[in-house]
């Protein structure tokens, strides 16, 4: 018997669209493999929503992906201009709400309220939005367990590479430190600065042209994004650290001369995010590391982490948070939830 799950997607930028496409193309495979069928019954963006009970067809999902930003509600006959989350819930109570709005570290909105609303309505959550977990991790987890629903967020850290799953599998260990390259955009910029000797601003422009960096790159280059990831990791490990206590460098201040100097010393400058559990310290620092260090060879948009425990050192290298990688991580969380509900 095929289990049908109705989901709604909140946020329809790059990640939301990648997820819609992925579901359009992989639903049949998922159905054959896991006996579950994912029906996307609603999609919301900042200006409205589309809704279809029973779920959109692959064709409809792809047509929605062709629409310009913030205009899903123009899709006829399923569009509802200026509809909000509560309007969707008045028609459709989904099995899972997928939160893919952008991260906002000032107050977590709109993601935080969206997620709280779902939890109150006893709806499971999958999120790639980091901010709510950075600012209100305990509150969200408590509420989810009180309402007996699942909340999953592995797309928030290293997306395409299952670090959160791995950390959850280390419950019997004492994790001493986690350090590595947790931001693909800044790693790409640094790689360009080393390999092509571009200045910071040239490398940034290239990253923007390739769709790797945002028009406003501050969250990445000022270290907010990797710092937020450290906060989520610290919470998953059970040793929470606040975002304001993460010491951050600013990549935009890095002079190309520093790169020349490092090259001469046979070293590489990397934007290293580090979490030291014993000392309860976290930082995102431009760090000169020797060429032999495994992190020195992690280039482009790749991510990597080293986890040191009382008995073992584990290194994980893989693709980080591209649109497609993030969508795959979300799909994985979705399948895990649907299997248990």
């Amino acid at each position: 018997m095929v289990k049908k799950a109705s989901i709604i997607i909140v946020g329809f930028g790059s990640v939301g669209r990648n997820l819609a496409k992925l579901i359009a193309f992989r639903n049949k495979i998922i159905e054959d493999k896991y006996d579950t069928r994912i029906n996307v019954s609603a999609i919301l963006d900042s200006r409205g929503a589309v809704m279809k009970e029973g779920g959109f067809t692959p064709y409809e999902l792809l047509k929605l992906c062709e629409l310009p930003r913030s205009s899903v509600s123009s899709y006829k006959p399923y569009g509802f201009p200026s509809a909000k989350l509560k309007d969707v819930y008045s028609k459709i109570i989904p099995d899972v709400q997928v939160e893919v709005t952008p991260s906002n570290y000032e107050n977590g909105e709109p993601g935080l309220s969206d997620i709280l609303y779902a939890l109150k309505n006893k709806v499971n959550i999958v999120s790639s939005n980091k901010a709510p977990f950075v600012l209100a991790y305990k509150r969200l987890m408590d509420m989810a367990s009180k309402n007996n629903v699942q909340i999953r967020f592995k797309a928030t850290v290293m997306a395409g590479t299952p670090l959160i799953d791995l950390l959850n599998g280390l419950k019997g260990y004492d994790i001493e430190s986690v350090e590595g390259i947790l931001n693909g955009t800044t790693n790409f910029i640094l790689t360009e600065m080393h390999e092509n000797l571009l200045s910071y601003s040239e490398a940034l422009k290239k990253a923007q042209a390739l769709g790797i960096a945002e028009a406003n790159p501050d969250l990445d280059v000022k270290g907010w994004d990797p710092a937020a990831k450290l906060v989520i990791i610290s919470n998953v490990i059970g040793q929470p650290i606040e975002l304001s206590r993460v010491d951050r460098d600013d990549l935009s201040r890095l002079d190309i001369k520093e790169i020349y100097k490092a090259i001469k010393e046979n070293k590489v400058i990397k934007f290293i995010a580090g979490l030291n559990i014993k000392e309860k310290k976290a930082s995102v620092k431009l760090t000169k590391i020797p060429r032999e260090d495994i992190l020195a060879s992690v280039n482009g948009t790749l991510n990597a982490v080293k986890i040191r425990t009382d008995v073992n050192n584990i290194t994980l290298i893989g693709k980080g948070a591209g649109g497609a990688e993030t969508a795959h991580a979300i799909l994985d969380d979705l399948i895990s939830i649907i299997k248990v509900i």
Binding site: T57, Y59, L62, E66, L198, K206, A209, L210
Partner: protein, 375 residues
């Protein structure tokens, strides 16, 4: 079966001049294929002249960039009004941002800039098809067509590409949806955009057909098919109805229709679809894997190219290199009083090549055509 009902159709840029021509093509695709129950996979090139303008833009011309913007906006407005114009403008804004990077003279940036020609053209054609009542969706070559990292002349990685298209295109065909995908572009395993080289859309089309085991690939241009000779010089030139892959490859080596050199690679190595070349009104030429014996041993078409102060005219046909055929051709040519400087042929190559002084081109083409291809 999918492969018997489906065809791949590549629309060449020569047909895509303005908004009106997109709508015309969409109508023709509908009546010729969709309405007859044929499942279509459309591969689309950039609008006419746009790729050249984008190269100029990469080389620093703001004027060329402006021309691209104007032409694309005009076409978008003609086809789909302000809504389509907005979609196209989203792309144009990104193109403009990329243009500002062109100072770095980086092949990655060049490919990125060139890719917008096809990406915008695809949006226009999808909208035109939708207006005609065809259920069409856009697929992204950047996600589906995986290549090596030879920027400007990338080769398609068949295995990676297969995994992606086999999980997407058939789902759409089963829903009777027409997928439209950009030709000429792809991306590396790291997701960096690449281009396949001039004429790369043909290569995209044959690759998709071969990987999905589809029997027919249409390469649609503004000509009725491959001609026996260049009609610019030879008024009596006709369409050749059937040639083989090797003959087509040989013709393109000697200046024939500019097919991408790797167009036939997937057909030779994976699955041998028939390639049909022509216009939508009249698809005159079929290019097949192998010919009946009766169709070997005589020239079928002639092409030419200039090199230094000579023009090389190639008579093309499988089996032509055999001694009896060569001597027959030479004796014909000798009787004609055509003053050639020399000729050559290679073992197992389907051609015999005559060298003439440049100024004799037109006369030589016409005389040879009358002698050997006229009937």
């Amino acid at each position: 079966m999918l492969k018997d009902k489906a065809v791949v159709v590549k629309i060449g840029g020569s047909l895509l001049k303005d908004g009106k021509s997109y709508i015309k093509i969409a109508e023709q695709l509908k009546t010729k294929f969709s309405e007859k129950g044929t499942n279509l996979i459309v591969v689309v090139s950039a609008m006419k002249g746009i790729t050249d303008k984008l190269i100029e833009a990469y080389n620093g011309s703001i004027g060329a960039l402006q021309e691209v913007t104007n032409k694309c906006e005009e076409a978008a407005e003609h086809i789909g009004g302000s809504k389509l114009k907005r979609k196209v403008c989203e792309e144009l804004i990104r193109l403009e941002a990329t243009f500002k990077l062109a100072f770095t003279k980086d092949p990655i940036i060049k490919d990125l800039i060139l890719s917008y020609g096809e990406r915008i053209s695809k949006k226009l054609l999808v909208e035109a098809l939708t207006l005609c009542g065809v259920k069409a969706v856009s697929l992204d070559a950047i996600e589906l067509i995986k290549t090596d990292d030879t920027h400007g002349n990338a080769s398609i990685e068949y295995r990676d590409t297969y995994k992606r298209i086999v999980t997407s295109i058939p789902i759409l065909l089963n829903e009777n949806v027409v997928p439209v995908i950009e030709g000429f572009i792809g991306s590396t395993s790291h997701g960096v955009i690449t281009t396949l080289g001039r004429g790369g859309s043909d290569y995209t089309a044959t690759t998709i057909a071969a990987l999905l085991g589809i029997n027919e690939v249409y390469l649609i241009t503004d000509m009725p098919g491959i001609m026996t000779a260049d009609p610019k010089y030879v008024p009596s030139a006709k369409v050749v109805s059937e040639i083989s892959y090797v003959e087509a490859i040989e013709a393109s080596l000697y200046g024939g229709k500019r097919l991408h050199p790797r167009t036939f690679h997937p057909l030779i190595n994976i699955y041998s679809s028939t390639v049909r070349i022509g216009s939508l009104e009249n698809v005159g030429t079929a290019i097949v894997k192998s010919l009946d014996i009766a169709k070997r041993g005589r020239p079928k078409l002639m092409t030419y190219k200039f090199r230094l102060d000579h023009v090389y005219i190639a008579l093309i046909g499988e089996g032509i290199h055999e001694h009896s055929v060569i001597s027959e051709i030479i004796s014909y040519v000798n009787k004609s009083n055509l003053n050639y400087e020399g000729f050559y042929t290679f073992k197992n190559r389907p051609s015999i090549v005559f060298l003439f002084k440049n100024e004799l081109l037109e006369k030589a083409l016409n005389t040879l055509h009358n002698l050997l291809l006229g009937k």
